[in-house]
């Protein structure tokens, strides 16, 4: 009896497959496509770039009206809390004025110390500005499309920031568009440092608005509210960009991000090149000639460190720009 019903079911499935041969064929093609794109991701990159270029052309038409609509929606939301917001901003203004005075004093001190220690001059990180034209976040991927591409000098891996902090990294470029993988995507891994505690960790996206801090040294103690900044570890990102603040989680600490794709309108893609110091064959012997030490050694009687040789390539270090390090 059971055998008969299972036979009937399988014959029904066979009849359906025969009737829908094209569907079955395309399902097989789909499986093949998935296997190829999983194994040879680079093959689909150029196709993705071309589609992004086409999409960006279409989406750019809607980008400006969408930004205006967003401003209206935000305006309606803030209208209801305008008095509370005003009081909060006044308080914040007083605190910021006080902090500004301290900041000026600290900047003078830091400049003086840098001169004394002969810290190499910092060069600002160049960047290119672009507009967010599509929010392509879905249940499995969190990304967005920006209307600057390889023609504007954008390359894979570059950091994308807005006026509040880091948004993500470029994972693909077309000629006129770039795809940005957001920090919240579960494929995102960013080396970060926790200010104050000076602990390094990896910020791991998990497709929620609460990316977690992983690979912390054992026994680390974190304070909720400590700022999380990027580090130059791995040479992928400029150091010192604000990512967010530490928040207490039930399992592992997570980061309250300082910005998100829903706030982003215009962004800046940073063209950062990590300082790479490669010694020439003649300079390779460290015992014969001491390398440039940034800190004067007390053991050597406070001798000032050797100046940077003028012929040596100057390392590029990001200047902590106020816009990104509030």
């Amino acid at each position: 009896m059971a055998l008969n019903s299972s036979r009937r079911r399988s014959s029904g499935l066979w009849a359906f497959a025969v009737q829908n041969r094209l569907l079955v064929l395309l399902l097989i093609v789909g499986v093949g496509l998935l296997a190829v794109s999983r194994g040879q991701g680079e093959l689909t990159q150029s196709l993705r770039g071309a589609v992004d270029d086409f999409t960006s052309g279409a989406m750019e038409v809607f980008a400006a009206p969408a930004a205006e609509a967003n401003r209206w929606i935000e305006g309606v939301g803030t209208f209801l809390t305008v008095y509370e917001e005003n009081a909060r901003l006044r308080d914040e203004n007083v605190r910021l004025r006080m902090a500004l005075g301290e900041l000026g004093e600290l900047q003078r001190k830091v400049r003086r110390f840098e001169e004394l220690l002969r810290v190499p001059t910092e060069a600002p990180v160049a960047g290119v500005a672009g507009r967010v034209i599509a929010d392509l976040s879905g249940p499995f991927m969190r990304s967005m499309l920006v209307n600057v591409g390889s023609a504007g000098g954008v390359t894979k891996g570059q950091a994308v920031v807005d006026d509040r902090g880091l948004l993500g990294r470029v994972v693909g470029t077309g000629k006129r568009s770039s795809r940005v993988l957001l920090l919240t995507d579960f494929n995102s891994r960013i080396p970060v440092i926790i200010e104050g505690a000076n602990l390094k960790a990896i910020l791991v996206g998990n497709n929620t608005d609460r990316p977690t801090l992983e690979y912390l040294p054992p026994g680390s103690r974190l304070t909720a509210g400590s700022r999380v900044l990027t580090t130059a570890d791995g040479g992928a990102l400029p150091p010192g960009i604000v990512v967010g603040v530490v928040a207490k989680g039930s399992r592992s600490p997570w980061v309250q991000l300082s910005t998100s794709e829903r706030r982003a309108d215009f962004v800046r893609i940073l063209r950062y090149t990590a300082p790479v110091d490669v010694d020439g064959p003649n300079e390779a012997a460290p015992s014969s000639s001491p390398s440039v030490s940034p800190v004067p050694s007390s053991a050597s009687g406070g001798v000032a460190p050797a100046p940077m040789p003028s012929s040596a390539p100057r390392p590029v270090v990001m200047r902590l720009d106020g816009a990104f390090t509030r």
């Binding site: 359906f16 094209l22 395309l26 589609v51 599509a134 497709n207 982003a264």
Partner: protein, 177 residues
Amino acid sequence: MIETAHAAYMWTVQFCWRSLPFAITIVFMLVSGIPLNLFHDAVPVANVALASLFFWAINGPSFLPPWAVFLMGAAQDLLSGTPLGFWVLVYLATYGFTLTQRVFFRGRTGIGAWLGFALVAAFATVFAWLLAMVLFERWLPPGELLLQGLVTLALYPLFARVFAWFRRLLTTVPEGV
């Protein structure tokens, strides 16, 4: 020669005419990518392709043949950044599943069609979730996918009205087409 050219012209016109549901779905998919900060992004964007493939699989599969579903999946993959073939498989499997259920839901409107879509949306959500976990080799929280399924289910009557309007347009064939 002239007859052949005329036949080719007619075939092209008919092909374009019959591809209208596919074209409309692609336009809707693009529009859903506009960065609008509605509900502070607490609510995910509805899966318009899923609503489209259910409607047309029930109310006229000839207007949305398997190749169109394949292209819709490929477009979704390329737009959303998932590996090429992921949404292709999800949509084709869901389309096949809907065709097997067609006898029960054909001609139904209102709550009947809605219940049918709920069944198909549940199938697509579970299939996509399982496939993603196999593909990405990790546990994925199903919350956002479920929420997207619910949003799509809630908005289905609205999509169905738009598609029904197009179906009326398509079935009242203009002279020459």
